[in-house]
Symmetry: D2
Subunit: 337 residues, 4 copies
């Protein structure tokens, strides 16, 4: 773990995401019955979900909405004082900032600060969260993909170097990148606070949009089971890409689209990044193993489609086009060029 810079909030980890979905019952089937997330709380308008290894209130909130979108991503910070630092940090950047007192925001979450960050994403910071019953060894409650925990957010943003600089200023380390030959040709970056490959990653593309949520399982056979379950129910159209092995991160993956088209990655295997001098591993955009270690082509929709994000008033954020298009680089079987 790198240390938080003076003045920046000390982020512990990616903590939860809140998605607007148009059919809560259908979303419950996807996220609870098929992916195996545990229902911590539900009412007619919301579902609070967590993985079976998670000890805090939730890692995903599904809110009934008119249109499918990302309400916000949320990071947990180390101390209550980090909320004031978050306020000051983003205010000084001229970003919209709002305090959300406990009870006014998501259930189970204490006082929070919400901002529209310099990349245009709605981001919440909080410290306090309710503890939840330990389910780590409740094998009897496991279902479907047997999701253990939220792993990361993946964001579509037009200017990867700008996203990289912003998160560096928040004290995030960088585990891996995809780069071109030019000096500033960065196509993608994976950045972390917890001791894994990432808490957040950036995919070059029109943004701000949410590319996907990454959730972790313990072993690869659980990923295969997930795909088998969708096939068994003739719901295989929810499978967008994979299973495969990522070059970046070395994780075994499967990409699914939920009933609203929100993308989720079932992700397993990772490596430790906690040493103070952990080095960034740089992939060339010309290595066809970067996106799939086995050289399989990436699906066009995976490059092009993503979820819109909302501002602090719940209005869709405008989207800017990408500066660099990785999919235009044709390498091996991959690329749309």
């Amino acid at each position: 773990m790198t240390t938080a810079p003076p003045g920046a909030p000390d982020v512990v980890r990616s903590a939860y995401a809140q998605l607007a979905v148009t059919d809560l019952a259908r979303s419950r089937w996807f996220w609870v019955d098929m992916l195996g997330l545990h229902v911590q709380y539900e009412d007619e308008n919301t579902l609070y979900l967590r993985g079976t290894d998670e000890l805090t209130h939730h890692s995903l909130v599904l809110r009934r909405g008119e249109t499918a979108a990302l309400d916000h991503i949320a990071y947990r910070v180390r101390t209550p004082g980090d909320l004031d630092r978050a306020w000051a940090f983003f205010s000084s950047l001229g970003c919209p900032v709002r305090r959300v007192p406990a009870g006014a925001g998501a259930r189970g979450i204490g006082d929070a600060v919400r901002v529209i960050d310099p990349l245009g994403f709605p981001v919440e910071f909080f410290h306090h969260t309710e503890r939840a019953e330990r389910l780590i060894q409740r094998y009897d409650l496991r279902r479907g993909a047997e999701v253990a925990r939220l792993d990361h957010f993946n964001l579509c943003t037009p200017d990867i170097p700008a996203a990289y600089r912003h998160y560096r200023s928040l004290g995030f380390g960088c585990s891996e990148t995809i780069e071109g030959d030019g000096e500033h040709e960065m196509y993608a970056a994976w950045m972390y606070r917890k001791q894994t490959v990432h808490d957040v990653a950036f995919t070059g593309g029109a943004g701000p949009r949410l590319h996907h949520l990454g959730v972790a399982t313990h072993e690869s056979h659980q990923v295969l089971r997930t795909a088998d379950l969708f096939g068994a129910l003739r719901e295989e159209h929810h499978i967008e890409r994979g299973p495969g092995r990522h070059g970046v991160s070395n994780a075994f993956y499967l990409y699914l689209r939920d009933p609203d088209g929100h993308r989720v990655e079932i992700y397993t295997s990772d490596y430790y990044t906690g040493d103070p001098d952990h080095e960034t591993y740089r992939w060339s955009v010309r290595d066809d193993r970067r996106r799939d270690f086995w050289g399989s082509a990436v699906i066009e929709s995976w490059y092009k489609e993503a979820s819109p994000v909302l501002d602090l008033e719940g209005r869709p954020r405008p989207v800017s086009d990408s500066l660099l298009d990785e999919s235009a680089v044709r390498i091996g079987a991959d690329g749309l060029g």
Copy 2:
């Protein structure tokens, strides 16, 4: 596969077992909820179960009874004419033989012949059985151990060479044995008609008694999941032995005891035995890998305990003591000597 000798019924495979159990609800929890067998039919007194890969009506019948016991094991034969051959074969041996017309015996089974074989076991032979809906790809119906099919019967009998000779006379091949230094010192034998390591095996011990039923899963992680499920529910006392790798058969195994003490082996990985000249592989009783390839000790109850068997009138069969006691041979960590 070896060919059936003239006059002997042409056995296709081990097909099903019928067990008497004292608490049908509790047995349903064990076999259906925990092991994942599919309920093909049930009423207040019986449960008809099968594995998810099985295409015939059932591979296990649980009957409500006063005392826990084996009613009979059943083999499927190739043609209706093999029922007459079975009748003649066992009659000529002076064994009790009874015809059970369709409808008078187990549901879903056509005309059958039941015998008390020369080893003292109640054995049914049948040809016709109802087909059942194909569940092979219904991953959504898989539960617990995800049992795919019945694999074999394991019988406690005092005289292993006699058991071996009897099943050879029925055209069974012998895949593996455990033998001592003496010429006729056979401690155990594994015999087959279908092209796997076995349909039936013999464990030296007081008999006739049923040592266990073997059921197959596809991969080893399903065996580990089964043990985890029992632990999660604080029902770990149902786990008797394993998981481990057998030396004999090379299968990965876990032994459980059902609520009445009937033993079941969750068994995965096996090898092909279908060539006409398939040779018997002989283990020395002095090789501590024969029972567990990793050298783990066998549990005393596994050597000593087994289920009683009933005669054709449903009375408990008397038991004779073993001639040879493998557990008395102390090898490495194994043995009670």
Copy 3:
């Protein structure tokens, strides 16, 4: 297992294939170092290989040749007398037939009969084969894909119903098919003698050509390891399709191309087909799960490319175009239409 018709040779199983390869050292890297086949014998012109569960001399022969091709596929028959039946059976069909005495053909194989079958494929029948050292539990010798055994041959042939009728006349059962709406619209068929889904399958296309050899591993993680190994060595271009789950057979698969372009399928999980009344399971060509249970598109080269086959004099056999083209049927993500 179905019974062999009177007059037809009693085929036990698919036994081995002999391939001509242009660079034996490079082929040795692929089949031995990467797939993990065991070298039973080698000299400067040939390699005799087998899987670690196989107890006979070889299941694959690689012969140094000018051009890459299939020399022949070989079936083991139950008795020496079945060689005469094979001679008579194919002679009566007007097929080229040749006797190959022990020593004149492949090492470790006794007297054989070779024919060009009515589908135009070079096929050998033999009974006697040398036994080989048992390696089933030699985990220390396992490498790469850890291939356990040959599973099946997959043949490209223009007229699937004709291929189906021919193999039915040889006593093969049919486990699964892909069919269209028309009465005789059969796109593919899977046929067996041993108690698995298949010994041979037919893929509609220009033929006679060898589509692939199928080799079996015990568990899916071995298939993933294989793909990882090719990626690790930057040899990912050998990976053509998958990993994925087949709808047909329910097997987990990975298709690779060897240095000459010969295709091999790493295949794991299967089901028992040995009952006398085993029914054919029929897939509609309109079900996008038939080729990949998860709905992934089939790769164009997989539909179009295959290995040429040689006649009994070693000359390339002429190829006829397909009558039906499954790849022209566009279903879901699959098809080239």
Copy 4:
């Protein structure tokens, strides 16, 4: 991660152990050929090894010695300044402390401080270490157990509460404990700095002695493969306990003894402990799932045997008897009482 207390060195993680072994060639077979550790450096007297996911010079040093023992365990600290803090911290406790300049100690390690800690263990602290070539995706170099990284040290010490207090004073968090009914009846504790269940754990028993080193693999099938490899080579006597599932940590485990009797745990699956308010999970010594979630008995040697440790002059440290004996508590199948 908890924060280091003022004055205490900021420990990043358990980094490496140095063992004295009596036959370096035989130890190389065990740790390199069988466990799959990568040789970073070797000469006639030493072996420097690391797991395939580790990016620093080594996680295990094997030194040729007259008698088998632990030379020291080593923790990496966050900054060079933490070495001075370590010096001051242990000096103030009256512990033997020694500075080991770069080049005078282990290869690839910068300036270090070595102490005999209050528990009597030889412990090194260092900050600088050489980076090593990234092997994370070199699947072609994986062997045997495919060990990815060192996970933890397990120490035998007579007074568990004292060990707990000492490591708390070093800023370690406590993930799990085994406790009796009495207020200070702590039988075992698992403590961490990195975001896993532990960097160090304490087993009640005569001490100071090294109970085992824990090394991590990615998936459970790699643990099973390890046991299979020892069985295949008739070296199964190296397998002491397992495979099994721990109650504590929920890890899947296998315990092996190296040629000198040093114990190593192959450990897989774990959970995240990085949140600032991560709670300790307390097991009752009366729960027979604490040591094995499946209720299997612990082996007597596992409770009783451990490796001696050396002082800063390389002399064996005296051993004190345990205050509490967990093995005397008989629960289910477990315990020697």
